[in-house]
Amino acid sequence: MTTNEIISPENLVYTKTKVLNDTPMHYCPGCSHGVVHKLIAEIIEEMDFQDKTIGIAPVGCAVFAYKYLDIDWQQAAHGRAPALATAVKRLLPDRLVFTYQGDGDLAAIGTAETIHAANRGENIAIIFINNGIYGMTGGQMAPTTLLGMKSSTSPNGRTAPLNGNPLDITKLLAQLEGTCYVTRQSVHNVASVRKTKKAIRKAFENSMEGKGTSVVEVVSTCNSGWKLSPAASNDWMVENMFPAYPICDLKDL
């Protein structure tokens, strides 16, 4: 059988979901943001929730998320996505409401909003892209930047006396009464992509069942900020990010 014969609708096993539109995404080649966008879009299609989902976009590289997923969106001020999601979900409880936030957005400027929304147990899903850096603004140190990790504002590597310790905010969120599901995943290979998809689906279902706040951290790469190729970034992440941010369920009620 020739390649051209195999390429036929009845043999189709995988194609881009229609919830992800045809607009090319602005992300750098190989950026983890794209993989997570794709998974969220696939889940919304599989749940048949395209008309019932409201995403809250952050400030950070994902500020334009609303251009790519064909659902309703609001765009929040930097760090305020969980506060905006709270309002949207309370006004429209039948909608699936999720935030999509980077580590600078969620764990630096938005720490208060994140902690209080999770502590109140708002029925939202928080998708947290932890690439250990401020990607959008040129690779500055984030609260999540690892000790020893170089960034444009820690050119010799982060040190605890000068810069403080890395913040494992996901671990903190797992301690709060309001969270029902807190997990840390990644998207660097097929197995991890599949697991992250299941985790996000569960977070979405929890929010529709009114179980409280679900948090899915995706340990991610920012190959431009890290100054490595996309494949080398994945390897660097496994070697350096995973020991500090281990892949596991932190809470599952």
Binding site: Y14, T15, N234
Partner: protein, 74 residues
């Protein structure tokens, strides 16, 4: 014995030449083309189509959802 044969179609203009699909393919089917698309990215192509088993590993890891996968039992 039934054999599985696969094939992929890459959306050339959407591809950013990140190479992640090339690394993910267990059968070394893919490589970046010498030719670039209109944005200057060396896009992914099948260089060994006969080895494709349609496992979709390439498509799962592609950050830009560029890859469509087909599979048949022959």
């Amino acid at each position: 014995m039934a054999k599985i044969k696969g094939a992929v179609v890459v959306n050339i203009e959407r591809c950013k030449g990140c190479n992640l699909c090339v690394v993910a393919c267990p059968s070394n089917v893919l490589a970046l083309n010498k030719e670039a698309n209109s944005k200057g990215y060396n896009y992914s192509i099948m260089v060994d189509p006969d080895s494709c088993v349609g496992c979709a590993a390439c498509a799962y890891v592609c950050p830009d959802a560029c890859i469509t996968v087909y599979k048949v039992r022959v």
